[in-house]
Amino acid sequence: MTEPLLSVKDLRTYFSTEEGIVRAVDGISFDLMPGERLGVVGESGSGKSVTAMSIMRLVEPPAGEIVTGTVTYHGRNLLAITEDEMRAVRGGQIAMIFQDPMTSLNPVYTVGDQLIETIMLHQDVNKRDARNVAAQALSDVQIPNAADRLDDYPHQFSGGMRQRVMIAMGLSCNPEVLIADEPTTALDVTTQAQIMDLMLRLAADRGTAVILITHDLGVVAGFCDNVQVMYAGGIVERGSNDDIFYRPQHPYTWGLLGSMTRLDEEQQVRLHSIRGAPPSVIDLPDGCRFRPRCDFATDRCAQELPLLRKIEGRGEVACHHAEELDLEITRAVGAAG
């Protein structure tokens, strides 16, 4: 087995707010293999973005703080290196794409300006070459007349086109890891599939590992090798694509699957859903965090926080009752992809 490319251990990121301490990410660990496509799913507010921002070390002090944890990348702990060293990693080796393409580009500079800036920052090229690289990057993401469009401002692109620009920017320096935080959430459904397809194909061509963050299971279904499910700042279940979609073990995952929209269906078919609202990550319940919303909870769940453990023939799950539950998936999902 090869070494993981990126290894996150016991990461905890808290925010101090007026209402109290927000434990946005509370002790998560995972590995990312070279070239792997890892999906991270969970309701909004479960800590997915904060996880990504923590890896990039972009959590803003003084409110946000990475309390403990290590992020090992090529033998170095990214949380311990200097800011200058970290800057070389950001954008150069680990790139990130954000949710809202409408606001993620600086409105007062041309797209070319912003691309060239990134390229010159991480590669030893002069401005003319950087411009060529930028034009190439734009045409890689299938923007017509790439060379001309470098001189356009972001507002002259549509949402889908802007997300293509963001992808071009993310991949322009051939990073080893691409973190895409809900890259298609803001786009309409037809564009979503195109963009996702394009992004993952380009990443595969370059051998770039991808962490794909989304709250929509349907998005990861067709595109990822492995999936981990987050709930209230922790990982509740992890496994291969098939594990998650055909053999879910956590009641939460099961609930998510029940309420997911299939890409090939227009209307949402609700088979079973999760009751209640996501917990506030300020006042987390003792024991299992999912307990208040779980149909199968027992006394043990109220007392003891379940840890992530491997189940024979299946993925990993953080549930005391994984073996006893028989969470039937009534519909073949994942087949769509």
């Binding site: 990039m56 972009l58 800057r87 600086n106 409105p107 920017m169």
Partner: protein, 390 residues
């Protein structure tokens, strides 16, 4: 953009027309007609009174008087624009403006700057040429206080007001904006709190209080207690100004300018720094700044390149709105510091209900505001590529 400027000028003219009607109407609606007021002045000879009545139509109805005033106001007494060179220069300016707005379409910031810069240079040359050769004397009437043609008073006073207003604006912009930016980057620090408190207090203090306190504190009592005369509390230059060397003159001007300029600047400065801080904070929390950081840009570049220009855009609008209050503030400050500007002219005219002078000054101030607002709007478009002038 050329068309845009023209349209804005037309709107401005409509505003000025409305302004003139309102003020003229109010002046008519006082219990005493201008004629009655003049009769009260024993120094005015009956034949002079008759000539004024004849000239301004003082015995006619209100609308007729307005019409007489308006005609006179827009018709120059003498006008020549200086022959062929001026005409050529103006044609060149217009030609450039039309061609440039038609054919130079690049969205590159540098090209936009170059295009507008060339426009400014060419028009500057045009104005310079025309200014040197033209001779326009407008007939804005004679002051009823017997000071002669109002137009001459105003052109003289405008220079003084311009000096004061521009200095104040310069101070406010050069201090207020960096202050706000610095505060935003150091949010919640002691310095930030201090700045916020200062701007809140300054913003809540009427300008005449600032003026009076500066005058008393830094002008009068500083000299009384230390014996050093740092600042003058009245006038624009000393009486012996003419005999000074250049250096002495510069010093003299600054000593006179400092206190009134600071009074006007203080309040605008407070507003700018508060506003700049808020807009900078908004930008600092924006998605595109996160993108810039995620690209690995150093913090300095993130702030100086990506944050600054965005954060400056809204402040330009604020400054354009503020021009009116700087001019308004100048009226009060000029009367406190005896500054021989348009504001003091206005107060004097108002006190005497000197109607040709009131009308002329109100129109001059109104026109100043209209022009400055257009300038600020154009600047806004230069900074923000999303703005299109239709």
């Amino acid at each position: 953009m050329f068309a845009y400027v023209i349209r804005r000028l037309v709107y401005g003219a409509v505003t000025l027309l409305a302004l003139s009607m309102v003020v003229f109407w109010l002046l008519q609606k006082t219990g005493a007609s201008p004629l009655d007021r003049l009769k009260l002045n024993p120094r005015i000879q009956p034949d002079y009174l008759a000539s004024l009545t004849e000239r301004y139509g003082l015995d006619k109805s209100g609308p007729e008087q307005y019409w007489i005033w308006l005609k006179r106001f827009v018709t120059p007494r003498e006008a020549s624009i200086g022959g062929l060179p001026s005409i050529l220069a103006i044609s060149a300016g217009v030609a450039y403006s039309v061609l440039a707005s038609r054919f130079i379409k690049s969205r590159q910031f540098a090209v936009r700057i170059a295009k507008i810069g060339a426009g400014v240079l060419i028009w500057g040359f045009v104005l310079f040429t025309v200014w040197n050769r033209m001779n326009i004397v407008l007939d804005w009437g004679d002051s009823f206080r017997g000071d002669g043609p109002v137009f001459e008073d105003i052109t003289l006073a405008a220079g003084a007001s311009f000096r004061l207003g521009m200095t104040a604006l310069f101070l406010a912009v050069m201090i207020g904006i960096p202050l706000g930016i610095y505060q935003a980057t150091k949010q919640y620090s002691f310095f930030d709190q201090l700045g916020t408190t200062f701007s809140f207090v300054a913003f809540s203090t009427p300008i005449f209080i600032i003026g009076v306190f500066l005058q008393l504190g830094l002008g009068l009592y500083l000299e009384r207690w230390t014996g050093v005369k740092l600042f003058y509390v009245a006038g624009m230059t000393s009486s012996s100004y003419e005999s000074f060397t250049t250096l002495q003159r510069a010093g003299d001007i600054l000593q006179h300018l400092a206190l009134p300029a600071i009074s006007i600047a203080a309040i605008s400065l407070a507003g700018y720094s508060r506003f700049q801080r808020a807009s900078m904070l908004e930008v600092l929390h924006s998605d595109y700044l996160r993108t810039a950081k995620a690209k690995g840009l150093p913090r300095r570049r993130v702030i100086l390149k990506h944050a600054l220009r965005n954060a400056m855009i809204p402040i330009v609008t604020l400054i354009s709105l503020d021009i009116a209050s700087i001019i308004g503030g100048a009226i009060i400050t000029e009367s406190i510091f005896g500054w021989p500007g348009v504001g003091r002219l206005y107060i004097d005219a108002i006190n005497a209900v000197d109607y040709p002078a009131i009308m002329a000054v109100v129109m001059a101030i109104g026109a100043g505001i209209v022009v400055m607002n257009i300038v600020a709007d154009i600047l806004y478009g230069v900074l923000d590529p999303r703005v299109r002038y239709e």
